[in-house]
Point group: C2
Chain length 368, copies 2
């Protein structure tokens, strides 16, 4: 079998993003055990830094040992019991995925939908909550990776709490790119991934639960259906007790530690400003060049931009050319948008001026 030969790519898709060289170095750090006193220090540091980036003081703030979707599953398996009523907001692939995951936990799901490319309307959430009694939680995606839509959360959070439900937010693509503000927005459960704006490799999913969500977890009637994602047990390992649960992915925790350290050294406000600036530049340049953006104006994420391909362009062939000639990866559309759009990520370490200029030049070259 041949030796590994990856020279890497310029990753401008909607994840994974490029990994900071110091984070790659952290991945190669010689291991210590998962019960080593030094590893406990790294765990504590990682948890504290995650709290800063999530904007929370939540005790239960833990990087789960799986990719972003494992974080999604963690939230649903821990908070939902069979028969529970939940409301899922769906305006893209990840809303649909939440519905599938929730149903596998035995939830009875009601949907609030919006067309792909548009945000969820708070009034629709209000309406569903007024009609349904005893909704346990309302779940929504803050940054829809499949469309590039940025979802405002403030009003929906207020409505959800008025109806005494838990507010669950998917911040997989949001965290580290735009403010998440878990405490300020009264988010009860939030999960993310390492391979988007945190610029670490895929493999961990940071999760945080509010005290109210922890109460729900502690008072469950049934066992959590997943042993691997059982937050009650995992908290005993990440907390003071250090009870062995499973062998943590040590190298990935090292990488996340380093990624968070680099992010906080730049400063959260600076990081958000950089994402905002580069995202806006790309969107302006695309529009100037005559491309139509998919996400509605006012609801565009800076870290994922989706735009329609000109009629008659072969999506897959063009992306292949971009990869072969420019070593740049971007993504096509998912579901009904397959073949119609491109999704360009400017996340974390990938979000810089040079990448915007390079991508625009390459795009115009390939289409000329």
């Amino acid at each position: 079998m041949k030796e590994l030969q990856s020279k890497g790519r310029i990753l401008l898709g909607p994840g994974p993003s490029m990994v900071h060289p110091d984070v790659l170095k952290a991945m190669a750090t010689p291991l210590v055990g998962h019960l080593d006193p030094y590893f406990f220090e790294v765990m504590n540091g990682t948890r504290d830094m995650l709290r800063s980036v999530f904007g929370t003081e939540n005790e239960v703030t833990i990087p789960m040992s799986g990719t972003g979707s494992a974080g999604m599953e963690t939230v649903f398996v821990n908070l939902v019991e069979p028969g529970d009523k939940v409301v899922i907001c769906i305006n893209g692939v990840f809303g649909e995925r939440m519905k599938d995951v929730a149903e596998r936990c035995g939830a009875s799901v009601e949907e609030v939908t919006a067309p792909w490319g548009e945000p969820i309307d708070p009034q629709q959430v209000q309406k569903v909550l007024q009609q349904s009694k005893n909704v346990k939680l309302v779940a929504i995606v803050q940054a829809e990776t499949s469309t590039g839509v940025r979802q405002p959360l403030e009003e929906i959070s207020r409505i959800v709490h008025e109806h005494e439900a838990l507010f669950v937010v998917d911040s997989v693509t949001a965290l580290g790119g735009i403010p998440v503000e878990v405490d300020k927005l009264q988010i009860d459960a939030c999960y993310s991934g390492t391979q988007k704006c945190l610029s670490a490799p895929p493999g961990l999913s940071p999760v945080t639960l509010s005290p109210a969500a922890v109460d729900i977890l502690r008072n469950r009637k049934s066992k959590v259906q997943s042993w691997y994602l059982d937050l009650g047990m995992i908290s005993n390992y990440w907390g003071e007790d250090r009870f062995y649960h499973h062998t943590a992915p040590i190298s990935m925790v090292f990488a996340l530690y380093e990624a968070l350290r680099i992010l906080l050294a730049e400063g959260l406000e600076n990081v958000y400003a950089r994402h905002a600036e580069n995202g806006k530049l790309l969107q302006d340049e695309l529009q100037k060049a005559g491309f139509e953006l998919l996400a509605k104006e006012g609801y565009r994420l800076p870290q994922v931009t989706s735009f329609r391909l000109p009629q008659g362009v072969d999506d897959a062939a063009l992306r292949k050319q971009l990869l072969q000639q420019y070593n740049i990866e971007v993504a096509g559309g998912l579901g009904a948008l397959k073949g119609q759009i491109w999704r360009v990520g400017l996340m974390g370490y990938s979000s810089n001026l040079a990448n915007v200029r390079l991508f625009m030049t390459a795009l115009q070259d390939l289409l000329s």
Copy 2:
């Protein structure tokens, strides 16, 4: 927050083991996307090499995106439906964990037990299968990490198949240290971990399913309760279709690829011989020095050795000294054996003569 400062340890616990320097280098390889043509090549190579190490031609042979326990959960969530009858063999922590996981899938569990330190008796399995009708699967641990017991599988496999049940084997600590031989032993579902004898960091769990197990999966009445671990969906990503399911932990797959390449370059027979030799040397030296081994003679794993501490020795304090003075990690006992035994791993890259000599010297120094 301080920069990452791990200098690594001499890892002689029951996992994680030390990681080969070339595998650490693979961890730091610049990323490509999870749908990149080069990543597909690495996936195919990884799958082919996993088949060699598992001793199987099973189509469904996949490293799951979680640590060893995620592999355990994968097998149970995919093969078990609520109400199914399963038999779990329990002679240590990991048998107990299988029972917990199976029950969370709604299984009705019957146990076959043996004292910790002894193997499961095939006649006991026979007896339970004769009394119970319609047992769907029988699960057993080949290498009990909590005791160091090596479980013979041949006779139990024959009994299980006579009763038309599926044969499930936990090879987390076995794979790459002793022969697993999935096809020869007619194992229907087998899972492992990267951080034991494969000498990669923790983070992936190789799983393989026989055609009979795949049939059971395809003919389920209910959806698999875990979206994240749904092998039907994940096979569509690891197979020819390359359907996006979740973002694979790319760097970990790079590491596993490199670890398997190194292992197969040494040659499976040589690898097993090296483990056998170093394990036997350690066990002989321990007995010569007056220590009592926990695992019954004839059923001792070369890769994990457990021995009783002398009366009056403070387990935790002594391990702390070993870590501080010699930079060596070993593990104490779990459950009822806490404080009574030590578990010493000689796995993968950690299994060499120098480590045996160093450990014995350190142990005798600290106890003198």
